[in-house]
């Protein structure tokens, strides 16, 4: 990352408020309201349908009932005519009496039918029905004297009576019954009309409900969508912010590591080349001084003690320089540095360390060399300090544009899925920064295996070739 890139860091200032009470209540109210409207509309339509159905059944039943009563009245009228005629024409008194009884039976039935009809009487039928009742009662009254006639009277008057009284009256009464039937039918039609009215009102209410629900729904959907989009934008913003911060953090840590490495190298070089060389020159000059100085024993012993001091200092400086950053890494390449590291750790801890790295080029890129060296250093440190390994095998293979490193030990291992120290984290960071991948596998009692793989950049491959 170049320094000017850092100005991006201050771009994102906007922050998101958490979902507030008002929004929660509004959301609850609008969704609740819409659901309520839908529920009401549903219940209302069910109720209306049921009402219509009931009404319909009721109208049909009333119509049928009246129609049947009218039919009965009509047939009773016919029968009464027939029985009256049979009674008048019959000479045998006892048989005539049976006709009269039948006629009375007919009258009873007709009265019953009239009574049934009058119970379900409606406004427009009232006057024709009263007319019918009057006619019928007149009809019966006209018939009544006939039964008091003796045989001669019957013989003499029945013919006239039948043609002039009985049949015309029966006809006019039947006419009224027909009219009532007409009115009844009209009633049926009126009922249908009323049903249609109910239906229309219901339809209107349904439409209104639907429109309101739809409107509320659309409003709600718009509001919700807007809010969700807003949230999504904010989430995206935050994600990018977090990702950028993470990237910057990684960059920073990589730069810190790099700076540390450069510092170490500089100090190591300075110690080795300046301090060490000066001390060596000092030793040399001491030798020269010894050669020209007189053979005075005291002077000799002072010279000897200076020489010992300088020698001790040279060793200290050399060791410090190597610990900071082994000069082999820069002078000779990765493999000699790894071999030195292996020997050093063997010397200090007694752990047997083997390095197998025959295919690796001397002049790997600087960052790659350093990365692998430091990872191995950390791994060996862990092997000795925590794993108490007896032997460690380090293998570095350079193959088809990649460097593979494995460090396997026979130590006590650990649960690698749960435990990760800072050292491991640092190793992983170094490796991923170079675009490599890092795998660590360990189980208690089964040693530890570390495997990393880092791609060689194209320029690096050219440089090596």
């Amino acid at each position: 990352m170049r320094p000017e890139d850092t100005k991006d860091a201050v771009v994102f200032k906007r922050s998101v408020q958490p979902l507030q009470w008002g929004t929660q209540v509004a959301l609850l109210a609008s969704f609740g309201g819409m659901l309520g409207l839908m529920l009401f509309a549903g219940v209302d339509s069910l109720r209306a349908l049921r009402q219509v159905q009931l009404r319909n059944v009721q109208i049909r039943q009333t119509f049928l009932l009246r129609n049947r009563a009218l039919e009965e009245i009509r047939s009773a009228l016919y029968q009464s005519g027939t029985f009256t005629r049979d009674y008048l024409l019959e000479r045998d008194a006892s048989r005539a009496e049976t006709y009269r009884a039948s006629l009375q039976q007919v009258q009873v039935e007709m009265d019953a039918a009239l009574a049934r009809y009058s119970r379900s009487l409606d406004g427009p039928e009232e006057s024709p029905f009263q007319a019918l009742q009057g006619r019928i009662s007149d009809y019966w009254k006209v018939l009544d004297p006939v039964f008091h006639w003796d045989a001669d009277e019957k013989l003499a008057r029945s013919d006239d009576f039948m043609h002039e009284e009985l049949f015309p009256r029966r006809a006019t009464t039947l006419e009224i019954a027909d009219r009532i039937a007409g009115v009844n039918e009209q009633e049926l039609n009126n009922g249908d009309e009323r049903l249609k009215d109910i239906f229309d009102r219901f339809r209107y209410r349904m439409g209104l409900m639907l429109a309101i629900t739809l409107g509320v729904g659309v409003l709600l959907a718009l509001a919700t969508t807007r809010h969700i989009l807003h949230l999504a934008r904010d989430a995206d913003l935050r994600y990018r912010q977090a990702a950028q911060a993470q990237g910057q953090l990684k960059e920073l840590s990589a730069r810190l590591v790099e700076a540390q490495e450069q510092e170490r190298r500089a100090i190591s070089r300075e110690l080795h080349d300046e301090v060490g060389q000066s001390l060596s020159a000092l030793l040399m000059e001491l030798g020269n001084l010894g050669a020209v100085a007189p053979g005075d024993a005291e002077l000799r012993s002072h010279l000897e003690s200076i020489r010992k001091l300088a020698e001790g200092s040279v060793n200290v400086v050399r060791n410090m320089a190597l610990l900071l950053r082994p000069s082999m890494l820069d002078d000779l390449g990765l493999v000699p540095a790894l071999q030195w590291q292996a020997r050093e750790i063997s010397k200090r801890t007694g752990m047997a360390v083997t390095v197998d790295a025959e295919t690796v080029a001397d002049d790997l890129p600087e960052d790659l060399k350093t990365c692998i060296y430091r990872v191995v250093q950390e791994a060996l440190h862990n092997c000795a300090r925590h794993a108490f390994a007896r032997s460690v095998r380090i293998q570095v293979v350079q193959q088809s544009g990649r460097i593979h490193l494995s460090v396997l030990d026979d130590g006590q291992g650990f649960d690698s899925t749960h435990t990760r120290g800072l050292g491991l984290l640092g190793m992983e960071e170094r490796v991923t920064h170079l675009g490599g991948n890092f795998q660590l596998h360990s189980e208690p009692g089964h040693g530890t295996g570390l495997r990393i793989e880092i791609p060689l950049s194209e320029s690096a491959m050219e440089a090596i070739a």
Partner: protein
Amino acid sequence: MSPVRILLADDHTVMRNGLRLLLERQPHLQVVGEAADGRQAVAISESANPDVVIMDIGMPNLNGIEATRQIVNRNPRTAIAILSMHSDESYVIRALKAGARAYLLKDSAEADLLAAVRALTEGKSFFSPAISKILVEDYMRQLESRGAEDTYELLTNREREILQLLAEGRTNKEVANMLNLSLYTVETHRTHILQKLNLHSVPELILYAVRKGIIA
């Protein structure tokens, strides 16, 4: 006897002055040039054609090991003694592979330098006792930790004799003359020795000999 002509290559002036003083106290030694970096060392070797080059490793422009390789490539008769702060065997083996025949530590230069120049003029190798000690110790530790058997036991007496001569810096031909053998026989022995000791080159063989204490 003509004096031994010496080139000093070191980027520290104080060091060069001290070395010059040390060497020129001997009447048969003559410092014919001084170089402050590897490139100069190669150029002066070309022009002054010294018998011995005393070479530092850590120098600007071209390091001592590369300079050694170039000088030996151009004139294999030039004997090169590395004089370095570095005591690790990786530097020693690298220097030997580049063609150096002696390896001295700077902190013991004053004591070892004259012996090294003498060994080189006699065609032998030389290592600072401090270096030999480190190498021997490392070797013993490795043998111990790996529990490996001592491969030196596998060599016949004749092979041990040849190993020592080769490690001292003799060529195959010199060895053949000294032991009254044919050149072919010496080469066969050499191959067997390298195989038995699991070594790949003469520099490694020299290092081995130092570790075993066969040569100093």
